[in-house]
């Protein structure tokens, strides 16, 4: 294709990408390099239903002038990235020199909000993703072996967890595992401990969130694998059967290799999806035990004191995190692709 023609073909999508992807990312980067302009504070008297008090207030006019002079706020370089609420370089080097052993160092590291969130985010991603792939494939194989009349209803029911909005789904589960809820009460009577609570300890909260994640995402990988199963060549399978392969061997040596591109696809999607886990943390009110990078952004943007620079910095770090996670998978795909191409 001549370069000119190619250029005209690509220009609509290129424009859209610049407008809706590049510009927002640039704006977030700019935001992350700034903090708000200085606030001019003045002392004044405030009176109300409970009497008068001397208070500190912001001089709105003086501050507005500063804002007009510097509409973006004060340039702060990479401060937003390196401060305690993010990468915390100073705190880490301090913790490193003050710790007698590794466990003490990790304790201090996990006391920092960003690393606490990163620890859960990575654990969640690396536990949920493989489970979702294996479970999804198992369900797909199971459904595929069902008699024809049962397939439709089974597929519909299997997809339900994905249809439920994450925020609602996790809220329902939150109430079910409450001591008064059906799951919580059953577990209490099973272990004969009326005070056992899934919400009380960090370890149990992590488990609960991970189980929720698997429950929610398994249908996605199931439906992709199920679609893939319909295209597995029947003659290869028949040939394998004639050669004496049993069901397990047919799956291991015919179906799975054939589905490999789908495994790569689901791995990519799931790594990205799970890395930005947010809704179950909000619904489970698990802030005390488990937080994620997306949750930090959410909190910065919704609390009384909105921190836009901080949220922008965490967003950029999340993008970097996703890129690092996806690199091995992308690299492998690229290598396989170039091997087959030449």
């Amino acid at each position: 294709m001549p370069h000119r023609t190619f250029f005209w073909f690509i220009i609509p999508s290129l424009t859209a990408m610049i407008l809706f992807i590049a510009f927002p990312v640039i704006s977030v980067i700019t935001q992350s390099l700034h903090v708000e302009h200085e606030k001019v504070l003045v002392s004044s008297e405030s009176c109300g239903p409970f009497g008068c008090k001397q208070v500190t207030v912001i001089d709105v006019e003086a501050t507005a002038q500063l804002r007009t002079d510097q509409p973006l706020g004060q340039f702060s370089g990479f401060d937003n990235y390196t401060n305690r609420n993010h990468l915390a370089f100073d705190e880490i080097s301090l913790a490193w020199s003050n710790s007698e052993n590794m466990s003490m160092f990790f304790n201090k590291l996990l006391n920092l909000p960003f690393y606490k969130a990163l620890a859960f985010t990575l654990t969640y991603t690396f536990v949920v993703t493989p489970f979702v792939i294996v479970l999804g494939l198992a369900i797909a194989l199971g459904v595929n072996a069902l008699p024809k009349f049962a397939k439709g209803p089974t597929i519909f029911v299997s997809l339900l967890p994905m249809i439920v909005t994450p925020l609602i789904g996790s809220l329902i589960l939150f109430w079910m595992i409450d001591g008064e809820g059906v799951i919580g009460a059953s577990i209490q009577s099973l272990f004969n401990d009326p005070n056992l609570s899934l919400k009380a300890s960090p370890a149990l909260t992590w488990m609960m969130l991970i189980v929720y994640g698997i429950w929610h995402s398994a249908p996605f990988s199931f439906i992709v694998f199920y679609a893939g199963l319909q295209t597995v060549p029947t003659d290869t399978l028949e040939a394998a059967t004639i050669d004496g392969a049993n069901r397990w061997q047919r799956i291991r040596y015919v179906v799975v290799p054939y589905m490999k591109p789908l495994v790569v696809f689901i791995t990519l999607m799931q790594l990205m999806d799970n890395f930005r886990v947010l809704e179950p943390i909000v619904s489970f009110a698990s802030e005390a035990s488990a937080t994620s990078l997306s949750w930090i952004i959410y909190k910065d943007l919704t609390s009384d004191t909105q921190l836009f620079g901080s949220a922008a910095a965490t967003s950029m770090l999340t993008i970097v995190g996703v890129a690092i996670l996806l690199l091995p998978v992308l690299f492998r795909t690229w290598r396989d692709f170039s091997r087959t191409a030449h």
Partner: protein, 415 residues
């Protein structure tokens, strides 16, 4: 024919008369748009509905109750013209709006239309009226008189948190309840509020006077944290998920004997829904307890009031003020007396208000109105849970709070 004509004329005349009567009642002249937003709880429903009666004859009144109004209000009022003409806020949220200069001074409107207001309703900053308060709220003690008497204690014996701990231990020892205590300790805003309340009970300042420099890492901070930890050891292990809805449900379910909850929940606890006769009959309210040998209730006083947006036309602002005055009228209070602790003329204090009133009488401090208070509140809400779960020392938790506050305050331009 003439009869029909007469009837038609009379009907028209009546319609004109009655509409101008409603018009005269509210006193809004000309066409205006009034649009109100605020939090979502029963007392505000009563206020908004009363304000809505000003609609008609060229005046439109729209209302929006939203639990997340705190997140919406700044962008909504920054727009020009603002999305809402009037907002109901509390002392905590007024600061956020004033920080950005989004509300107008009400001096002229109060002079023109506010003759029925109590002087104490006027919230002034630097001599200018910025908000009109109409109800008070505070967290205070809820107790079960039947359970206290079962362990041989009376209401006079739960005036300090140390006494509350003694009572809780006795209730546990008597085998009545394993976890008799609850506070709104959900990690985040609620837990931050508990820290602020308890710290105010020490009577100490949270900031170096005149600056945004935080000073909580001291003996007052440690006493505050230790008391919170002692209290949650009598709370169900799920305490880090307890918000107002959860604690109210537990109270109504008869699972608690001593709780520190919002005054705005008393009416809900006392009504005939969601609870048993035994719980309702034996529920009593007292001032928030003091602690650590102090005499100030460890709680903060809140008011709810209304403000008028800056970025609206003067006509809309005036109409909104009149509508909100109608919403907070004596008639509204008489119809909804028990829905809140009203600050409005004509209010008859009821049992539901006794906790808030006695907390105020005992000298509790209002919630601090510092522009940087929100940053400290958030820091407390997220950094305290490790300590409460036993993961770190009180000193470390306070140092973490200060560090988290410093980063946020710096980013907001306060430090």
């Amino acid at each position: 024919m003439s009869t029909i004509k007469t009837i038609a004329l009379t009907a028209t005349a009546a319609a004109i008369l009655s509409s101008s009567a409603a018009f005269a009642e509210c006193g809004i002249e000309g066409n205006a748009n009034v649009s109100i937003m605020g939090n979502d709880f029963p007392a505000l429903h009563a206020v908004f509905s009363a304000a809505e009666q000003c609609a008609g004859n060229g005046v439109t009144v729209t209302k929006n109750h939203n639990k997340d109004y705190k997140d919406l209000m700044v962008p909504a009022l920054t727009a020009n013209p603002a999305e809402y003409t009037a907002l109901t806020v509390s002392n905590g949220t007024l600061v956020t709006l004033m920080n950005d200069g989004l509300v107008r001074s009400l001096d002229d409107l109060v002079a023109k239309h506010g003759s029925s207001l109590n002087k104490s309703q006027l919230v002034t900053v630097n001599g200018k009226v910025m908000a009109v308060a109409f109800m008070a709220n505070a967290q205070h003690l809820f107790y079960r008189s039947d359970i206290l008497s079962q362990v041989g204690m009376s209401a006079d014996e739960v005036q300090t948190y140390e006494q509350v701990l003694t009572a809780a231990q006795r209730i546990r020892d008597a085998g009545i309840m394993e976890y008799p205590v609850a506070l709104n300790t959900k990690a985040g805003w609620n837990l931050g509020e508990e820290f602020v309340n308890m710290y105010l009970g020490t009577g100490a300042d949270m900031f170096v006077p005149g600056t945004a420099q935080v000073s909580i890492n001291n003996e007052h901070g440690i006493a505050t944290l230790n008391m919170l930890q002692s209290l949650v050891s009598y709370s169900h292990p799920d305490y880090l998920t307890f918000d107002s809805n959860a604690t109210q449900a537990m109270w109504e379910g008869g699972k608690l004997a001593l709780a520190t909850m919002w005054g705005s929940r008393t009416a809900g606890v006392l009504d005939d829904e969601g609870s048993t006769q035994q719980v309702v009959m034996n529920t009593d309210f007292a001032a928030a307890p003091s602690f650590n040998g102090g005499s100030i209730p460890a709680s903060s006083l809140w008011w709810d009031g209304f403000v008028i947006a800056k970025n609206v036309s003067d006509a809309d602002a005036e109409a909104s003020f009149i509508a909100m005055m109608n919403g907070t009228s004596t008639e509204m209070v008489q119809a909804n007396n028990d829905a809140a602790t009203w600050l409005i003329e004509g209010y008859v204090p009821s049992k539901a208000a006794s906790g808030v009133t006695s907390t105020a009488m005992n000298g509790a401090a209002p919630y601090p109105m510092y522009p940087f208070m929100g940053a400290l509140h958030s820091a407390a809400g997220s950094e305290l849970s490790d300590f409460l779960q036993g993961g770190e020392s009180a000193e470390q938790a306070l140092a973490d709070m200060e560090a988290a506050y410093n980063v946020a305050a710096k980013e907001k331009g306060f430090l």
